[in-house]
């Protein structure tokens, strides 16, 4: 009998300590010290929220850099990958389709090698990054569509290269930030 009472009391005490005091305290500290990070790195322009730095968006128009394929088409309420296995014909068909599409969009030869990050979907379905090389591949198309010189677009890509741990991380670019930079250059 005593064990039941102890167990109930412990459950209540720990629920208050770990389920209320702890998360509320961490939230309080976070909101004071890291308000931007704690609220999702939201990007605001003209008083409108246009995205989160960390969450990718779906880009299909020729004016923008395209990101990785997403199993959820960047529907951020349901994150997740394709979960297609390495021998699944469905995956091969999808990848093949994406390869053909990219070769057409970027005017590549029909036997060119396409970067894996542009045709294989991310685990979260929300990844905002691609390899720098994969961005460079898209420069001619964007320059043409926007009437920029290729060097101008190249500069924008270079300005946005990120790599957190020097020598370990492969340099990446954030597709959303790139595209915002493109839009800002237009004005």
């Amino acid at each position: 009998m005593k064990a039941i009472k102890n167990a109930l009391l412990m459950f209540v005490v720990f629920s208050v300590l770990l389920g209320i005091i702890y998360p509320v305290a961490i939230t309080g500290i976070s909101q004071v010290v890291f308000p931007h990070q704690a609220n999702g790195y939201l990007i605001t322009e003209n008083e409108k929220v246009i995205g989160s730095e960390l969450i990718g968006q779906n880009f299909t128009s020729p004016y923008y850099f395209h990101g990785r394929p997403s199993a959820t088409v960047y529907d951020s309420v349901t994150s997740g990958g394709s979960n297609l296995g390495p021998t699944n014909q469905k995956l091969m068909d999808e990848v093949n389709e994406r390869i053909q599409q990219i070769r057409i969009e970027e005017s590549l030869s029909s036997n060119s090698t396409v970067p894996a990050d542009l045709v294989l979907s991310s685990g979260s379905g929300l990844e905002a990054y691609i390899y720098v090389e994969s961005a460079r591949l898209q420069i001619p198309r964007i320059a043409k569509a926007r009437g920029f010189s290729e060097a101008e677009v190249e500069n924008i890509v270079e300005d946005n290269v990120e790599g957190w741990i020097v020598g370990i991380d492969t340099p990446l670019v954030n597709v959303l930030k790139l595209n915002i930079a493109l839009d800002n250059t237009r004005r």
Binding site: A7, G81, D117, L120
Partner: protein
Amino acid sequence: MFIFLFLLLTIVLSIPIGRYMSKVFEGQRTFMTPLLSPIERFIYRLIQVDEKEEMNWKKYAYSLIVFNLISIASLFLLQLLQGILPLNPRGLSGVRWDTALNTAISFVTNTNWQSYAGETTMSYLTQMLGLAVQNFVSAAVGIATILVFIRGFTRKNTDNLGNFWVDMTRSVLYILLPLSIILSIILVSQGVVQTFNSYAIVQTLEGSTQTIPLGPAASQVAIKMLGSNGGGFFNANSAHPFENPNSITNFFETLSILLLPMSLVFAFGYMVRNFKQGIAIFSVMMILLLMGLGVALWSESQTNPLMQKLGISDGNLEGKEIRFGVAESVLWSVATTAVSNGGVNSMHDSTMPLTGLVYLFNMGTGEVIFGGLGVGLAGMLFYVILTMFIAGLMIGRTPEFLGKKLGPEEMKMALVPLILPPAAILIFSAIALSIPEGLAGINNPGSHGLSEILYAYFSALANNGSAFAGLSANTVFYNLTTGLGILIGRFATIIPAIAIAGSLSQKGKVPVNSASFPTTGPLFVIMVTAVIIIIGALTYFPIFALGPGLEHLLMLGR
């Protein structure tokens, strides 16, 4: 190179933490005592516990079970009622009963198998007051289990095995909570969200709307990583940018997977006053971890030949985040399956067949490669008992370990966790493969579909919680069978561990002499490693061959 440095750093950190843990659990003063001991004593007053009171094994086990039952019932109710409770900015309705039951069992047992998607199913209140709390206390229950097991070896001629409430309180207060506070602040600084604001509605550049889920995630992710839990705040778990935004957070999260399970092995060495024994057991675990890591890194670095034919550059990136890359995804996944964490930063369903095999093997050993907090080391001690028994047969002496004679009682009890879970895995998988409710969940055709079902029950019985997530597991059939599997896996470890401690503590110590089998040398390490591999391989060989093995051959042959 990076991986080598990473593992070295983890080991270097886990030795002092192990020392600290051993002091905490023996009630000695540490640098945290002045700060925490008033809070500790206040908690004992609140829960009406006398910290000097000792329990025998039955009372200890009874307290543990009662506490777990209360936890399961409360978490179940909280999910059903979340629709009418506060902190539910998205207005989510109550969770369906079978999902709620599965989730309650899963989180209370440190498994964190998730058949639901966090952002569309659970309110902020359910996440922080229900799931996050269980992240802490389920880890503490695991630690309590190993503490009792250790006391079985260290104490003699007594029934007293410690006090469950005291062990729980110390685990939470001195170890899990301080580390979680540090880790959650690190995580927030890098962009893991921690807010009570409702989901952000965003106008994208191309003019559509995007709903971005938020919530008090960092505080939960911290203990999810440290407490061998692994239950994601969001559906994509630590692949989600808001749970694991960059390689810095990925580094700390991977470190946290291994840190406390490793520290506990050293704590064990300190507590049995035989640090060499701790190192011997650590070596067994490390050998198995490195073997799996080697195979998985090799397998995953081979570009899928089917993809290569299509004309893409190298890199198996399907289901992976390029923020982390292939090697760091594999390192994480080997760690998470070895340690019974179950959090993922890439989608295991899309890995190469032999990589998936390593993940299955890690879980199939019963999570003893460091393993879940406490229960992993307990599982390893069962293997040690079995090995000592075999060694005893070879040299014709009664088996001994740490100065205790191992009799038929201990032997029988140690076999329960070695036989029951594999049997349950095979039976559940066989059922799922023979009825429409089971087959309906499969997402990939052929042998990979078999692997999906196998993975689900391996994960459940090993209390791991990761998944080949293509399997549609949020059905009554899968929720109930995996839920039952989780309970079997958890209590077939905990109860035998406590029972063995009960029988060992009553015995006297036998002095070690020249005829005793040495348990700290390389021979011991090789014996235990071999026993684990042989048992793992023999038990699962046929299904490993039919699942990942066959898929690998088909991939090469096509």
